[in-house]
């Protein structure tokens, strides 16, 4: 099959490189020429998190010449449960800087290009255009669609991988002959309808498994060997340890990759996914369930601080606190409040009829899910609903430092 690398003059390998890649060189399917193709290749890893970590590391190990990293985030201790490219020593560093340390430590011949930014419609075409293969390891729908569309428009193969709790998907989109992400999913789920990753957590090893599958596909594309997952969707079920492949077809009416495309340039993906655009004050990233910023009123819901909640509780004010996290979170840390998980609030709102005109304060872990739940209550006719800004994490930060943060 055709390789992703144009037939250019392939770079030479030094004696040191030959020694390093000997196990590749003695494989007939790779050989000197294959290793040179790897050295000539430029791969962009969108996201240096769960998926991006193993992906970038194995590409570096394999001898890919240039690896671009796109990530605006900094390393947090909770990342280290799965993002093995980072380390305790780099907590607090920019992820692209942290990743570079590990990648260069593994392979000093590697050229690392850092894009410390969020990928947006304004910059995606410019960033992606110089790479040969794009590996999408992001964690939100907007960026998935953005990367997909940009890859189709730029004719770059997209080694796609995604995960949720114990399951993963992998495929290769963005090739001329194959389907794109939109052929599989023409529309994103409306926010809040499908239980989100934010409520789910993830088994740390899972992105490791899927990320290396993405790296495998990337290397196959570069070398032009094997059967890449073009037109196939690999489903990984880690708990059952089962792997299934489903046929993916190119949608003849696909608005991006079809013969009559209606999407010929990048669009507003936040709007497409039904997400409110990022506020000036809040963090750059607009994941579906990101906590709201420090605004006193957001979408008509007053935001109350943990200090104020404490004051009200101490003064024994007549308030009703509702915890909308998942049951298993209660045992980690709780405020003693009754629980209705955010996904069930609409269905179980009848249980709260007695609170309809009381002051209701909704809380979750960080303030994002509780905002959603507060909106549901407001729509159900509750007259005095507030959202605890910062959630139980802010409480642990500022009111009760003995409370664990998670």
């Amino acid at each position: 099959m055709p390789t992703a690398i144009e037939e250019i003059v392939l770079p030479k390998l030094s004696n040191d490189e030959i020694a390093r890649y000997s196990r590749h060189l003695i494989l007939p399917e790779v050989g000197m020429e294959g290793q040179q193709k790897l050295k000539a290749a430029k791969v962009l890893c969108v996201g240096t998190g769960g998926l991006g970590a193993p992906l970038a590391m194995y590409l570096a190990a394999a001898g890919v010449g240039t690896i671009g990293l796109v990530d605006f985030d900094t390393v947090d201790a909770s990342n280290l449960q799965r993002q093995i490219i980072h380390s305790t020593a780099t907590v607090g560093k920019l992820k692209v800087d942290s990743a570079e340390i590990m990648l260069k430590g593994l392979n000093p011949y590697l050229n690392v290009v850092k894009h410390n930014t969020m990928l947006t419609s304004a910059n995606a075409m410019e960033i992606l255009k110089d790479y040969d293969v794009i590996a999408d390891g992001t964690d939100n729908f907007q960026t998935r669609y953005l990367v997909n569309d940009a890859c189709v428009l730029l004719n770059k193969p997209n080694a796609y991988g995604s995960i949720f709790r114990f399951e993963g998907q992998a495929s290769v989109f963005g090739t001329k002959e194959g389907p794109c992400y939109r052929c599989l999913y023409p529309e994103p789920p409306p926010p809040g309808l499908v239980p989100s990753c934010a409520e789910g957590g993830v088994l740390g090893i899972l992105p490791g498994l899927v990320g290396v599958i993405q790296a495998t596909e990337t290397i196959k594309l570069i070398l032009g060997i094997g059967e890449p997952l073009i037109g196939r969707l690999l489903l990984v079920d880690a708990l059952g340890m089962s792997f299934r492949t489903l046929k993916l077809r190119k949608n003849p009416e696909c608005p991006v990759c079809g013969p009559n495309p209606t999407v010929t340039e990048l669009i507003d993906y936040d709007q497409f996914c039904g997400i409110a655009p990022p506020s000036q004050v809040g963090p750059l990233e607009v994941a579906r369930d990101k906590a709201v910023g420090d605004h006193p009123i957001v979408d008509g819901i007053p935001q109350i601080t943990v200090e104020e909640l404490k004051r009200k509780l101490d003064a024994k004010e007549d308030i009703f606190v509702l915890d909308v996290r998942e049951p298993h979170e209660y045992s980690i840390a709780n405020l003693g409040a009754p629980q209705i998980p955010v996904g069930d609030v609409e269905r179980r709102v009848g249980e709260l009829t007695a609170q309809k005109n009381r002051e209701v304060i909704v809380h979750c872990r960080s303030g994002a899910r509780s905002q959603k739940a507060a909106l549901v209550l407001k729509q159900a006719g509750f007259t005095n609903v507030s959202n605890l800004a910062g959630g139980i994490l802010a409480w642990a930060d500022r009111i009760d430092p003995s409370m664990p943060k998670y």
Binding site: G47, G49, G50, L51, R82, G137, T138, D139, N140, F141, R144, G161, S162, I163, F164, R165, F166, E167, G168, Q169, L184, Y185, P186, E187, P188, P189, L193, V194, P195, S196, C197, A198, G200, G201, V202, P207, V210, L233, L235, D237, G240, R244, T245, L246, K247, L248, R249, A287, R288, D289, R347, R365, S366
Partner: protein, 93 residues
Amino acid sequence: MNIHIPTPLRTYTGGLETVNISGTTVNAVFQQLTVKYPELKQHLFTPEGKLRSFVNVYLNDDDIRYLESQQETTVKDTDELTIIPSIAGGANL
């Protein structure tokens, strides 16, 4: 026939990954599925009863959108249906 339920929807089937439902067509099987597990309905179908666009259904290895009779396709007891919702990956609390 067996229906494979994706992780995000297993809370509505009591945690079951595979459920066994009878029916002669894909539509009939879905009808029965939502009768047995009513909470699945709003996640799989719009209020008008159409399959949600971010949910893909495979009959064995084929996407039902591309089968000639789509959801009216007749099914055997030995066939398998798999429901695949879109997932975006990454723990992002």
